[in-house]
Point group: C2
Chain length 332, copies 2
DNA sequence: CTGAAAGCGCTTACAG
DNA sequence: CTGAAAGCGCTTACAG
């Protein structure tokens, strides 16, 4: 794997290991002559310094960890892409874990990452990863940045999306289009992410004198299939509904499909707005109007924050907010 | 980060470091009494062995590297998910890199991974990563497994998909449906992946006495937008075409959209078949008929192969083939 | 059954 | 400007 070591280079270049180390790290004063000789030897031998040996002594590995519930979820795969790119640009490589939304898995991943000596961790925690559950780990590890929702701990910082605002804007837009019977395809219960969306939905309704009816909300997992099923149910029970605001695009896409099956035209008979703006939102027809969350910003800011925290370990940082804005397409 | 070390445990448990190491690794004979004492101390102190220290001495890190062109591409994100899961199940953690289909980036990623001391690398190489370009690296690193297409080197093994067969089956199905003027939305040129699909397409045509016309193929990047544009062009120039076979689902989804805009009904006026079976294939309407590639199999088999190669470093392994089968939905 | 020593491949004070 | 020594946190022969 790494058959050629620093010692080999030193021997061949007739210098000490110390000197090779200095030219490799570009530090200290070295005669041009010996630097050239060492450089040439490194080149000739194809020497590459071992990051693991270096990590052992310097106590940093130039790696970070990323844990998401599911990398195959288009929302997270875009975030992951942005994170990896930002990390790479800063000289860091990234470990990644899927947690399947299990907080036990998340804790395991966190510990694994720490065992590998990563310099920081970015995690999109599941609702189950409460402050109490992560505390024992966070007390010993620093820094951690949380994606999309916050966990209270001095070693943890967050990059959040303007969810409530985005939700409110979306529903206000619907109201502005003349809709006054607006249902909501909600997501997994007991989830702050859902809570904020419901808040925004409710605020928009209240602000326009419209009633907030819990029987116009439908829950369940945030999948395409569920969106389709929930829409069928909701529209069967409350045929007067003319618009649907969804927890995410997967659900909204399912709603579009349901409307097609039900013979309801979108957006004429039923307007639909999603949340996230995944690529597929633009692949369906009618194209999905949605609340676009800046996923690249999420990943890039998370990495930037890790760097800041590394440089100021004792400082505590306020959350960063990334925009979530209405993106009009065809479904509403 | 890792404030408590093996030495701390040893001191507190009144044993030597050697003994702690033995209980941690469950090796050798130890009195139940001392084992219990050490275990209790480990627990009490919250000790976790440093993987980087261990990696330095054992020369293996229990990590692997994964490099794909773009993790946000739904095909690769599913493969990545399966790979990570299989790795985890085998006790390995994974580093991941995006290469943006640049072979220079791929080479950089490969070297970075080796510097980190990964035990193996799984890569979905871009067409630019030729055998000659990877050879200097592969000569020194082992094992490497290549996803979806092969590179000839004794340290490299591959897990491939039955592309040609899948393509042929798809086109034969179209012919069976009565189509005899079938165009193809091809992908990036100079790509073996494209070559195999074209072969399958051509074989099906020839086998049924149909003409293979290069002016019925359209090239370019494999994106939704391109699929839409290419379809518009192709159908404008050759309105007699009644069916389209696409290089991948993104292109096929673009084709469905184009048909909608052109007023061509799918599948009645124009049947469409994609390739890959990404989740969005089932979210559009009409749902996309496609050649399903076993992406989970790809990831799982790649990891399995890495393990085999690790256990038999001198052995050379034949490629593994993963199925690519027609999945009928609505678009054809 | 358990301990003291050497060493994995580097970097970091310390000398010279 | 450059070298010899110590040490990062483990594991691996070698003794006892």
């Amino acid at each position: 794997m790494h058959p050629v070591t620093m010692r080999d280079v030193a021997k061949k270049a007739l210098v000490s290991v110390r000197t090779v180390s200095r030219v490799v790290n570009g530090q200290g004063e070295i005669t041009q002559a010996t630097r050239d000789r060492v450089t040439a030897t490194i080149e000739a031998l194809g020497y590459r310094p071992s990051k693991v040996a270096r990590a052992l002594v310097t106590q940093h590995s130039d790696t970070i960890g990323l844990v998401v519930s599911d990398i195959a979820n288009p929302f997270f795969s875009e975030v992951a892409r942005a994170t990896q790119q930002a990390a790479r640009a800063a000289g860091y490589d990234v470990f990644f874990f899927n947690s399947d939304s299990s907080w036990e898995e998340e804790l395991r991943a966190l510990h694994s990452l720490a065992d590998h000596g990563v310099d920081g961790i970015i995690i999109a925690p599941s609702p189950g990863l409460t402050a109490e559950r992560i505390r024992p780990f966070a007390d010993r590890f620093h820094p951690i940045v949380t994606l999309v929702y916050p966990i209270a701990h001095s070693h943890i910082s967050s990059v959040l999306a303007e969810i409530r605002k985005g939700a409110r804007t979306a529903v206000e837009y619907l109201i502005g289009q003349g809709h006054n019977r607006i249902g909501m395809l909600a997501g997994p219960a007991a989830n702050p992410l859902l809570h904020w969306r419901v808040q925004g939905y409710r605020e928009a309704l209240m602000g326009h004198g419209l009633e907030f009816r819990t029987d116009w909300l439908s829950g369940g997992p945030a999948t395409f299939e569920r969106g389709r099923a929930s829409t069928c149910d909701l529209l069967a029970q409350h045929p007067q509904i003319t618009a649907l605001f969804a927890y995410n695009d997967l659900l909204a896409l399912g709603a579009i499909r349901a409307c097609k099956e039900l013979g309801r035209r979108v957006p004429d008979d039923c307007a639909i707005i999603g949340f996230d703006d995944i690529p597929a939102a633009d692949w369906v027809s009618p194209a999905l109007t949605t609340v676009r969350v800046d996923k690249r910003g999420l990943g890039a800011q998370a990495m930037a924050r890790i760097l800041e925290m590394l440089h100021a370990p004792d400082q505590t940082f306020p959350p960063i907010f990334v925009p979530a804005e209405l993106l009009r397409r065809e479904s509403a």
